[in-house]
């Protein structure tokens, strides 16, 4: 997993390596400083000349300044490296997601992808910064401080032989116990927050049923449950601090006692200056151990984020462009031959079963059926948004799997049921259909989709800005703009998946009328709820439970198909419809 992540460092290898170099330099200087300070103290003790003193002092200050610049520079390079790494990671994820097929997209929810690209990436960014900075610094510092302590203190340094293992063991024990406890708590905590969100969203229901007290009680229980778990976890971690202190205290007492014995003993191996340096190094060693335990915890925490990012990066797109793809489409005919389809490999129910259907180029086809009858599924196979599970699907006489995907999708324009406009001007949105469309072409498409009549009434006309999600146009207007956008592709097949549900019937009829006159060669497939939207189609398909139960013209179906008759009568009941 780490290898995959390292690949995303790329051009930020240089600042990463520079960071490590600066940190190493900083550590070396920092370790030397107490060493020289010990000399300085001894010099003072010996009553040396002030000018000599200043010389040593100046050296120390220069060293401190060097350490300052190294540390400061490392601050800059590590920020560049980690921010750059995060940038590349986001870029790689975004690129990868663009190669996803619908099946891949269904697997990850859009909100989870957003979290992975934002929160998770910033967690990994933090971890990377820690890695090149503190994870380099702490062990080095530890090592050097130990070496220096042994050089200066000799036998005194033996204190570390006792203290270090105790501390490391203690930290590991705490981390081992705390981590699973925290993981459990955070999971519960997330759940609690989810239930608050649910509560806020459903406030009308809660108040409507006067369930405020019930909700309070429910929440109180959940909150208290978390308190208990959280306290347990926090208390384990709270042991770190006393553990650290006890080691520091032991170290101090030991060095003082044994140190003074050594100085005053028969053969003094150290002096007072060295004793004071030992105290400094002792502190440093213990601090670094604490740092290391912190890094350990942080890295394990971020490993969850890494896992989630890596899931996005390793996901294999389900649809691939064939080798030697077909790049031209003969016409807009569609042939389903024994098509079966299920959404997930593991699903036990077929969404489509044994579909056989032939649509001539230029035909207008209507599809009717209840919720869950798989009408949308049928049409989604045509632009190869999903691949058939068995059987074959031909468009223009060629199997859809043999086409270059973008050629296929450019020729099969689909207006999705859950359609979206993007933030930007109306023009920009329309040009999604054809980037090089002239203004005249845009207006022409809008006229055909009956969108021009309201767009031209906007003060800014085609330059009107659409808010994110298209919230500033009405549902019917949005649908008409989406149809115009699809028309700009000049497709051979146009699919409308319940795309005029919010458009009034008169406009709906006018749009269909326009299709008949202006794009007669285009195959039009229309899914609708309203019978009126498909009544005059060349062929109407009735679907139920993933299968075609009947097909024919309005008159034929009215004659022989019960379901069709039922829908028709239900929708036209009252009889005085003069549509």
């Amino acid at each position: 997993m780490f290898k995959r992540f390292l690949k995303s460092v790329r051009e930020y290898k240089r600042p990463s390596i520079l960071t490590i170099i600066f940190i190493v330099l900083e550590v070396i200087i920092e370790v030397i400083i107490p060493f020289i300070t010990a000399d300085l103290i001894n010099d003072i003790r010996a009553g040396i000349e002030v000018s000599e003193l200043i010389k040593t002092g100046a050296l120390l200050i220069v060293l401190a300044l060097c350490s300052l610049s190294c540390g400061g520079l490392a601050g800059f390079t590590c920020s560049k490296a980690s921010a750059g790494f995060a940038k590349n990671l986001r870029h790689d994820m975004f690129k990868k997601i663009q190669t996803y097929s619908f099946e891949n997209i269904d697997k990850f929810s859009s909100s989870s992808l957003v979290t992975r690209m934002t929160t998770d990436v910033s967690n990994v960014q933090m971890a990377y910064m820690m890695l090149i900075r503190i994870a380099v610094r702490a062990p080095l510092m530890l090592l050097f401080s130990m070496i220096m302590a042994f050089i200066m203190g000799g036998k005194l340094a033996l204190t570390f032989v006792v203290v270090v293992p105790v501390l490391v063991g203690g930290f590991l024990l705490v981390a081992r116990n705390a981590m699973p406890a925290f993981k459990r708590v955070f999971k519960k905590y997330d759940k609690l927050n989810e239930s608050i969100e649910e509560n806020v969203r459903g406030m009308r229901v809660i108040k409507g049923f006067s369930r405020e007290e019930y909700e309070k009680e429910k929440f109180g229980k959940a909150s208290d449950d978390i308190r208990l778990d959280f306290t347990k976890a926090e208390r384990i971690v709270a042991l770190n601090n006393p553990l650290m202190q006890i080691c520091i205290y032991f170290n101090m007492a030991f060095i003082l006692l044994v140190g003074s014995k050594l100085i005053l003993g028969v053969n003094p191996t150290i002096d007072v200056g060295e004793l004071s340096a030992m105290l400094t190094y002792g502190m440093q060693v213990l601090m670094q151990l604490m740092m290391l335990s912190m890094i350990y915890v942080m890295l394990t925490m971020s490993s969850e984020s890494m896992k989630r990012i890596s899931e996005v990066l390793v996901e294999e797109p389900q649809l691939k462009n064939p080798e030697n793809p077909v790049v031209t489409m003969k016409d807009g005919s569609v042939d389903f031959e024994n098509v079966c389809f299920k959404y997930a490999y593991k699903a036990n129910r077929m969404a489509l079963e044994g579909v056989n259907l032939h649509i001539d180029s230029g035909m207008t086809v209507g599809i009717l059926g209840g919720t869950g009858s798989s009408k949308s599924t049928v049409v989604q196979l045509i632009p190869r948004l999903y691949d058939v599970t068995s059987g074959s699907l031909k468009v223009g006489g060629t199997d859809v799997r043999d086409y270059d995907i973008s050629v296929l999708r450019d020729n099969v324009a689909m207006v999705l049921q859950k359609n979206l406009l993007f933030s930007g001007t109306i023009k920009e949105n329309l040009r999604w259909g054809n980037e090089n469309a002239t203004d005249e072409e845009l207006i022409e498409a809008c006229k055909l989709a009956r969108a021009d009549e309201f767009v031209s009434r906007f003060p800014a006309g085609y330059d009107t800005r659409i808010e994110q999600g298209g919230t500033n146009v009405s549902g019917g207007q949005k649908q008409r703009l989406c149809i115009a956008r699809a028309l700009l592709k000049k497709p051979k097949i146009l699919i409308l998946d319940d795309s005029t549900s919010a458009v009034d019937m008169k406009t709906d009829a006018l749009i269909r009328e326009g299709f008949k006159h202006y794009i007669p060669e285009t195959t039009k497939i229309i899914i609708a709820q309203r019978v009126a939207s498909v009544m005059d189609a060349d062929m109407i398909i009735i679907m139920e439970n993933g299968a075609i139960v009947d097909k024919g013209t309005h008159a034929e179906l009215l004659e022989r198909c019960d379901i069709y008759r039922e829908i028709y009568e239900q929708q036209t009941n009252g009889g005085d419809k003069n549509d």
Binding site: T37, L73, S195
Partner: protein, 651 residues
Amino acid sequence: MTDKKNVSSPNMKMKKGSRPPLDMKVLGRIVKMLFKSYPVLIPLTAFCIIFSAIVSSIPAIFIQKVTAIIEEFADGKLPGENLWPEASKQIVPLVLILVGLYALAMVFLTLYTQLMAYITQGFLCKMREKMFDGMQDLPISYFDTHKHGDIMSYYTNDIDTLRQLISQSLPHLLQSAVIVTTVLCLMLWYSIWMTLIVLCGVFAMFFVSKKIGGGSAKYFIKLQSSIAREEGYVQEMMTGQKVVKVFCREEEVSRGFDEINEALFEEAYRANAYANSLGPIIMNIGNVLYVICAIATGIFLTSRVKNLSISGLAFSIDILIPFLNMTKQFTGNVNQLSQQINSIVMAMAGAKRIFDLMDEKPEEDNGYVTLVNCKTDDNGNICETEEHTNMWAWKHPHGDGTLTYTRLCGDVRLLDVDFGYTPDKQVLHNVSVYAEPGQKVAFVGATGAGKTTITNLINRFYDIEDGKISYDGININKIRKSDLRRSLGIVLQDTNLFTGTVMDNIRYGKLDATDEECKAAARLAGADDFISRLPLGYDTLLTNNGTNLSQGQRQLIAIARAAVADPPVMILDEATSSIDTRTEAIVQRGMDKLMEGRTVFVIAHRLSTVMNSDVIMVLDHGRIIERGNHEKLIAEKGTYYQLYTGAFELE
């Protein structure tokens, strides 16, 4: 996930380089609440912190003493001579006292850290519950005017900062403050001159950190907006991913992302660079200060300057060593102190938002008419009973002390009602509606015509400005809100289901309903059919507002939920909008049965849903422009007629 865009980071609040003043009122309130919640534990914890802090600054004294003794002995020491046996008589007791103090400090430290874990979580739990309980009592207008993402961030981000504040910042602040004071006293004890030098160094540190911190704050503000921009883009593209694919726009979209991504990198780099370099710079200023102190001591020693100190000690090497150690401790803790104050200032912003939510005015309810179970006595009079009679009455206490009971029938009248959500924009004008018990009243009209507003007024989610609404002849302002709402069943267009089984969700309408009652309600609503086809039937777990169900299926469950409550009045606000017409036709039979004997208000833009109503009200811009049954309205050839024939667009 909560809406991160709405979460303003503490950094946003920082003006260019300057720190906002510490909000003492909020801090005071937190401290007061802490004391109130734990009147014994808080002082005990504070005592533990202070004691362990003092003890941890004392070693300097002992080090000074020990070195002084060593000095004394070493001065006259000859090579090969062993002075330890003699010196140890003085040194060992000192070290033993030190160890004793350490042991005590350890006890207090352990006690305080454990107590702190307990207090923090207990306090947070209390705050959470207070917030939540307060929130349940807020009027619906609060939820209509506040973004849900913002409300959520009180519970996530702001509670988290509070946790940081209580478990880390406050104890550390106290600890550092105690250490700084003790060390300062000790330093003054040893040497005033030297202390002055140290103080000068500390000021230099403050200066630098303010300079750099300011630069960092500037970039952090920019970073926030870059992050928001990137999140917005990702959000939009991830939701629209399928549209991107259908239009083969992958390349263009990636290019757009890269641009935003690059800008984000620039800001993140700069903001972090300043923040990251601050630490080493401050630390090394500490180092320089250390050296300066050492040199100064040397100068003082050799030039025989007279020491000025509280203790009256002369400059000597025994002062120098502990003093230098104290320098490190002092600068380290001063730095800590300023960092803690910084994080406390930031936490105050979060705490203030939490208090704002708690202080929000709860929904007012001056209703005194209550809903009670009743039965008729031998004389045919209504009297109150504890039994479940399925017969309800309004219990109406009067000013003169008498009680009257009015049978609950579901007669709802609106008389000349005016209303606006904000004073400057009136939504309803002179609306009058008479719904007799058992009638079906429908509202038809464009979005924004005021249909939903009328239902909001009947259940008093909002209160009317002018006019009168009566329920069984009682002004609804006199009815206790919870009882009023209990008598009304509402099914809304945006169905909200809760995490739990299908059965739990239906039972939400009547908490003590048996499984059989719930199933009967589901059958009535026409939901039984699909529920029994779910893998686990009624025990199927619904999560995340029932994402595993279609919108139509969710609506059916919501209808069943209202049905189990068996209210005399029902409000169906686009309750069947997502059920396809064919299924609706099937559901309709059940719905008709469900509506039997109830007063029902129906809002629908699909006219087939409202056609069989007793009265249809056509609303336009808050006024009722047509009223009558289907046949009458068709005959009038007005707006309803145009809608029916499809000449008008409803959305």
